[in-house]
Structure formats: structure tokens, C-alpha cells
């Protein structure tokens, strides 16, 4: 048996969008196979087809060298395939343990054997080397924890082919290392892994073979030895890419943001202030307090005005922009149209006497969406139908276009492809150079070092220290993140 999982001439169109066009891939058993490509290249579509969640218009899925028809995910699961989707499919009102066993519950009669479930969960977690708060609701844990549960779930269901759709998009470097180690371990154990990522370094570090998709078509499949960073990026985007690197701010003005409380900091006009820390060090609380989603524990001012008690909309009116780290529930309304998502918050300027002017709405939405290179069909399409990275661009476009005095950006390039990332970074710098302040929270150390003028490191909900931006601060940040003082 050579091809454990594959596609033969698979095509899938959504209306005018050809998400997959004559795609053929062969994923050999016992390998880590990376699938890379720009936002909207068709990676997620292909994975959903391979798992049975979606059916191709033409072409077939191949399992163990045989063409098969998957009528639903149950078929995929039956063939030992597990999918950890890009937009995690955890059920928020259930506990982690309930999420883990859902669908394959250990039972005694009609009853769920919770003791056994718990035992299995602990056993699985320790085998993989993670520790999880099993009784916490999925809604109340971080994305990385949810993702670990999803991986364990697939393993528990006996998946020996594990498809991971952008698993590292929301992870901090240390967590990424853990994940890559886990994937290598799975390969050693004879399992097959399909791995999607926009980060070429990760891909080169973990993959045996790499398939590049562009515009729904396979450009090439190569063994990792044939590729390096530059050639892979060129294959992905079809051109050479220039990276800007660290450019410190030229001029800074008055404070646009001051926060007092358990975390105290300030951001000046014309300055990007980064916030680093291992997940759960107080970043989420800080962001939520500044944006107005959590009661303040001290005074917060925006351009001199006390906003501590203002609701979100008044803060936004006062000049606050917010790129949420969770585009699915906070950043976008997934079932609303692209136009509605784009104009949200600006809609009052697009009509008169409480009536929206459809032509103005469309024009505004088109300008923003095109301006931020969103790959979409019509402005009336719902946000859900966009690929993950394109959804993120919609959020960025909406928030940056308002020209905020202060932009709070949490994981602004999460799930965005290489070109998109450099593009968004340039936009954030441009916003800064125009005299706005940016509070940047990111799990990506490289992003923080590249963009920030100063970086504030959090540990255990407090400020552990501050370092200047630029590549030289890397080790100092690492030390501060662990709560130690750099020597």
C-alpha cells in the first residue's frame, strides 16, 4: 500500500468560484504531507472532501489505493481519517471531556461511563504530553487548548490519518514546537499526517512532502529536500516577495491610550506597542478591558478622554479600532453579508434618516474589500463562505479603513498567507506613520519583533518588563515571558 489518502482529478466549484480544479494528490502512509497555498487557494475545500464533509463535483477520493466515495464524515472516520478543522468545531456549552467523547462515548447501557471517559482522556493526554482542564467549558478555554482537544479527539477515534487545517495559526512559538513534536511522534508511530500552514518554516521543518496549491490547482508536489524557504514562497505566491523587516517609528506624539490597573501601560501616537506573553498571561483581559468587553479594573483613557465606563460603541466613536483575535465570534457576523460586515460601525454615514443607501453601501464595501485584496464573489455573499484568511482581511479592512486613533490588534495576521501578512504589516506601519497608536497583541514573536517599537511582556497577569522592538530583543522576551529577569 502506498497511497494512504489522495485525490484523483477532483474539482469543486461554489457558484463562479472554482475552489478545486482537477486536483490530484497522493499522500503516502507514514508521512507528514504539507499542503500550502495562498488564502483561497482551495486547501480547506480539498481537506473537507478528503474527510467526506464535502463531495467533489467530479473526480474521486482515493483511500488505500482504491477510489472510494465518501458520503459523509462518518465514512471518512470509518476509513480512519480524522480532521481538525480550520475553524475549530468544538461545542462551547459542553465541557472538554464531553467534547472529547462526543460520538464515541464509553458507555454502560445508555449511561455514559464518566469514570472511564476521564481515565481515557487522562491516558491519551499524558501519552501526547499535554494537561487539560477536562471539566472546563470549551467556551472558557483558549484556542490552543481547544485545538489540543480536537487532536486528541481524532486520535481517540482511531484516526491514523490526521488532517490538521492550519493548526498553528493561533499558537505561540513554544506551542508550535510542541505540536510539531507531536506530529513527528505520530509519524514515528506509523500514522499519516496532512498538515496545512502558511508558515513556510514550520512546513519545511516537519513535512516529508509538500503540495502547493494555487487558484484551486496543484502547482507541484515535491519532497522537502528539493525546497528551501525562498523557492517554496515563490512557488506559493508565483512571484518573489520582499520582506520589510523591523522599521522603528520616526516620530511619536501624545499618549493615545493609557491603561491603569493590574496591567498598566500607555501607547503614544505614532507608536506600535507590542504585548507578549505565554497564552493566558493576561493578554485577553487587557484587550477586553481596553475595548470595553470586560469591566475595567482601573482608569483607561483614549486620546485624553476617560473611557473606562463607556460602552463599546462610544469607545469606537471616540476613535478605537479593534481587530479581534477571534474572528468567528467577535470579528465577523458569519451569517451576514460581506457588505454588512464591512459597513458595520460606519453604516450611519451611508444613508440618511435611518435609511441605508444600497448603492453607497455597495460602493463602500467594494472599495474596502478590493482595497484589502479580499478574494470574494459578491458583496452579498455571507462571510462564512470566504476562506479563513480572506475573512481575516475583511476584519482588517473594516477596522483600518476607519482610521482609528488607537487600533487594538489581537493576532491580526492569524491565518493570513505570506503575501497577506507582509501586506497587513505594511498597513499597520502605515497607520502608525500616519499618527495612530497601535496596541498589538500576538502569539507570533516574529510579528511582535518586526512591528513593535516597544514590547511589553506580561507574566501572570502583570507587566514583567519592557524591551525595545527589533530582532535583538528575542531572548530577553523569552526570559521575561517565563517570569524571570534577563541578566
Amino acid at each position: 500500500m502506498s497511497v494512504r489518502l489522495g485525490a484523483r482529478d477532483v474539482s469543486r466549484a461554489f457558484g463562479p468560484v472554482r475552489a478545486n480544479e482537477g486536483v490530484s494528490v497522493e499522500i503516502r502512509a507514514g508521512t507528514v504531507h504539507a499542503v500550502v497555498g495562498e488564502n483561497g487557494a482551495g486547501k480547506t475545500t480539498l481537506m473537507r472532501i478528503l474527510y467526506g464533509l464535502d463531495q467533489p463535483d467530479s473526480g474521486t477520493v482515493v483511500i488505500n489505493d482504491q477510489p472510494v466515495r465518501l458520503r459523509g464524515p462518518a465514512d471518512g472516520i470509518g476509513h480512519g481519517i480524522g480532521l481538525v478543522p480550520q475553524e475549530l468545531a468544538m461545542i462551547g456549552s459542553l465541557t472538554l471531556l464531553e467534547n472529547l467523547v462526543l460520538g464515541t462515548e464509553p458507555r454502560s447501557g445508555p449511561r455514559i461511563d464518566w469514570a472511564r471517559a476521564r481515565g481515557e482522556a487522562e491516558e491519551l493526554a499524558s501519552r501526547v504530553g499535554v494537561e487539560l482542564p477536562w471539566t472546563a467549558l470549551a467556551d472558557n478555554v483558549s484556542i490552543s487548548v481547544r485545538q489540543q482537544v480536537e487532536i486528541l479527539r481524532a486520535l481517540r477515534r482511531g484516526a491514523d490519518v490526521l488532517i490538521l487545517d492550519e493548526p498553528t495559526a493561533a499558537l505561540a512559538p513554544a506551542q508550535v514546537d510542541d505540536l510539531l513534536r507531536l506530529l513527528r511522534g505520530l509519524r514515528e508511530a506509523g500514522r499519516t499526517v496532512v498538515f496545512i500552514s502558511h508558515k513556510v518554516d514550520e512546513v519545511l521543518a516537519v513535512a516529508d512532502e509538500i503540495t502547493v496549491l494555487r487558484g484551486g490547482k496543484v502547482i507541484t508536489t515535491r519532497p522537502v529536500g528539493d525546497l528551501d524557504r525562498t523557492s517554496l514562497i515563490e512557488l506559493i505566491v508565483g512571484q518573489q516577495v520582499g520582506f520589510t523587516g523591523f522599521v522603528p517609528s520616526a516620530v511619536t506624539g501624545d499618549e493615545v491610550l493609557t491603561v491603569a490597573g493590574s496591567v498598566s501601560l500607555s501607547v503614544r501616537a505614532g507608536e506600535i506597542v507590542g504585548v507578549a506573553g505565554i497564552a493566558g498571561s493576561g493578554q485577553d483581559e487587557l484587550v477586553e478591558r481596553v475595548v470595553g468587553l470586560r469591566p475595567p479594573d482601573g482608569r483607561i483613557t483614549l486620546a485624553g478622554q476617560d473611557i473606562s465606563t463607556l460602552p463599546v460603541d462610544r469607545r469606537r466613536a471616540a476613535g478605537l479600532g479593534y481587530i479581534s483575535g477571534d474572528r468567528r465570534s467577535e470579528g465577523l457576523s458569519m451569517d451576514a453579508s460581506l457588505a454588512d460586515n464591512t459597513i458595520a460601525g460606519t453604516h450611519r454615514t451611508l444613508g440618511r434618516h435611518g435609511w441605508l443607501k444600497p448603492s453607497a453601501v455597495r460602493a463602500y464595501a467594494k472599495r474596502v474589500l478590493d482595497g484589502y485584496s479580499v478574494r470574494y464573489g459578491r458583496t452579498t455573499a455571507v462571510a462564512r463562505t470566504l476562506s479563513g484568511g480572506n475573512q481575516q482581511r475583511v476584519v482588517i479592512g473594516r477596522e483600518l479603513d476607519r482610521d482609528p486613533k488607537l487600533l487594538v490588534a489581537a493576532g491580526p495576521t492569524r491565518g493570513v498567507d505570506v503575501l497577506g501578512m507582509t501586506y497587513i504589516h505594511d498597513k499597520l506601519r502605515a497607520l502608525r506613520d500616519n499618527g495612530s497608536g497601535v496596541l498589538l497583541v500576538s502569539e507570533q514573536l516574529d510579528e511582535l519583533l518586526d512591528l513593535s517599537d516597544r514590547i511589553i511582556v506580561l507574566h501572570g497577569g502583570r507587566v514583567a518588563g519592557e524591551v525595545p522592538g527589533g530582532p535583538a530583543s528575542r531572548t530577553a522576551i523569552g526570559t521575561l515571558m517565563l517570569g524571570r529577569t534577563p541578566s
Binding site: 461545542i91 462551547g92 462526543l102 445508555p110
Partner: protein
């Protein structure tokens, strides 16, 4: 007020509580699976008629109750299929079924049974009493904790909750989310059908086309108020039942009937409003 009057009030409140709570528990199951069931009213009415006719024809209350449950379940399944397979809006489907069923039943009464509105069934076998109350009351009492426990601790309960909160996620895990909703919809129909039969066999002893009188909607309000948890839902039903029993007594005391009859409904609206206000206050100002 004497002790015996209070005792009498309590007994009649429990009698009125039974069908309300049964229907509400059915609606609760459907709600947990992610569908708001507006059709309980029509399903109760159908159960009442079928229960009356079958009990009369067979002379056996149990057969009447079973037939009422089966009829309600069938309608519940049809309604659910409209929602899950044909993509009908749950509100429209529920209202539509209720309106069509009450129209159909009114027509049946006149054309087949040749009566206008009220059907007296000869040989009707009323519910027996166990410890002073009927078997359906005891069944409902058992259901309250049983459903609460099952939702938490059984495979079916977990899958039901999963379908309600994460339809796509459940599907992606290979669970038949639509099928689970159909089962919940059928169960809701069974519960509502049996609840309807209680109105005839446990209370009035005859069928009237207006006898459900909004109880299906009160049941709906109850599981909303109870946030789809069995105990609070049952207590909400009890609240209505107590005021319903009280209004019946006040009527005999000479206060204008039309006014008094609205009392339990007014109480339900007041309580719902109060909890809704509290709910909004409790939430952090997330919308903005």
C-alpha cells in the same frame, strides 16, 4: 382560608400542572436539540381528541393515552421533517401545524362526529387515581429529575445537547444531527399528545375544541423561563397552575370571570419580563 381549602387548591393546581409540565418537558427536549417548538398547542389538541375517542372506543384509559402519544408523535415527526429536511422555518412550521390542526379538528367534529365544538364520548374511561393523583401526574414527577439526569449522563442526552449548541460540529463528527432533531421533535409530540389526553381523561371528561386554551404556548414560555432545565421549567408550570387553580376558585367567589381568567397569563408575562430584564442586565455590555 382554611387548611382544607388550601389543600383543595393544591390538589387542583397539581392536576392542572400535569399536562402543562408534560408538554413543557417535551418542548424542552426539542429546545435542547436546537429547535423552538411552537406546535405544542396543536399537538396537545390532537392528543386530547385522539385520547378521548380511543379511550371511549376501547374503554381503556391506557390505550387512550398511548394513542394520544402516538398521534402527537406522528405530528411531531412530520413537523420536524418539514423543518430539518425541507428547511421550513421552525416558527412558521409550528404555527402552521397548530392552525391547520385546530381547523381540521373543528371540521372533523362537525362533519364526522356531527357536534359543534364539544364532543361527549360515551364509555370514556377516565384516569384512575394512585395516592389521590392520576398516573400521568406521577409519570411527570418522575420525568423531571429523570430528564435532567439523562441530559447530563446518557449518550442520548449528550448528543442532544451537542446538536442543539453545535449543529455543524455535531455533523462534522459524524453524528446524524438532523436525525437527532427529528427524534427530539417526535418526543416533543409524544409528550404534548399525552398532555392533551390528560386534559380529557384526567380533568374534564369530554373534548372541546378550545380546551387547550393556550397551554401549549404557556408550556413554551415555561421552558424558556426555565432555560431548558427541567426543574425550573416544571416550577414555572407550577406557578401558572397555582394561579390557574386560584382563578377558578375566585370565579366562584363572584369576581368578574373574564378578568380573573387572565390572571395566570398575566403572572406568566410578568415573570418572563422580570427574568428577561435580569438576563439582559447580567450580560456584560457585549453588544455595542
Amino acid at each position: 382560608m382554611t387548611v382544607s381549602m388550601l389543600g383543595g387548591l393544591l390538589m387542583s393546581a397539581l392536576l392542572l400542572w400535569t399536562p402543562l409540565a408534560l408538554a413543557a418537558l417535551g418542548g424542552l427536549l426539542h429546545r435542547v436539540s436546537g429547535v423552538v417548538n411552537i406546535g405544542l398547542e396543536g399537538q396537545m389538541l390532537t392528543g386530547a381528541l385522539v385520547g378521548a375517542v380511543v379511550s371511549g372506543a376501547t374503554g381503556d384509559w391506557a390505550l387512550g393515552v398511548l394513542a394520544a402519544g402516538a398521534a402527537g408523535g406522528l405530528i411531531g415527526l412530520l413537523m420536524s421533517l418539514c423543518i430539518t429536511r425541507l428547511g421550513a422555518n421552525e416558527i412558521i412550521a409550528g404555527l402552521g401545524f397548530t392552525i391547520v390542526l385546530s381547523g381540521l379538528i373543528g371540521y372533523l367534529l362537525r362533519s364526522v362526529f356531527d357536534v359543534s365544538g364539544t364532543l361527549r364520548v360515551a364509555g370514556l374511561d377516565p384516569l384512575p387515581r394512585i395516592l389521590g393523583l392520576d398516573p400521568l401526574f406521577w409519570l411527570t414527577i418522575i420525568f423531571v429529575p429523570l430528564i435532567g439526569w439523562s441530559l447530563r449522563n446518557t449518550v442520548a442526552g449528550l448528543r442532544l445537547r451537542a446538536t442543539g449548541d453545535g449543529f455543524d460540529a455535531a455533523n462534522a463528527l459524524g453524528l446524524p444531527a438532523n436525525g437527532i432533531r427529528d427524534i427530539a421533535g417526535t418526543l416533543a409530540g409524544v409528550f404534548a399528545g399525552i398532555a392533551g389526553s390528560h386534559l380529557v381523561l384526567g380533568q374534564v371528561g369530554l373534548f372541546n375544541e378550545n380546551m387547550v386554551a393556550g397551554r401549549g404556548f404557556i408550556a413554551l414560555a415555561a421552558f424558556y423561563f426555565g432555560r431548558a432545565r427541567p426543574l425550573p421549567t416544571a416550577l414555572a408550570c407550577l406557578l401558572f397552575a397555582v394561579f390557574d387553580a386560584a382563578q377558578a376558585r375566585l370565579q366562584t367567589a363572584g369576581v368578574p370571570a373574564q378578568l380573573i381568567q387572565t390572571l395566570p397569563y398575566v403572572v406568566v408575562i410578568a415573570v418572563l419580563t422580570a427574568t428577561a430584564v435580569r438576563g439582559v442586565r447580567g450580560r456584560v455590555r457585549r453588544a455595542g
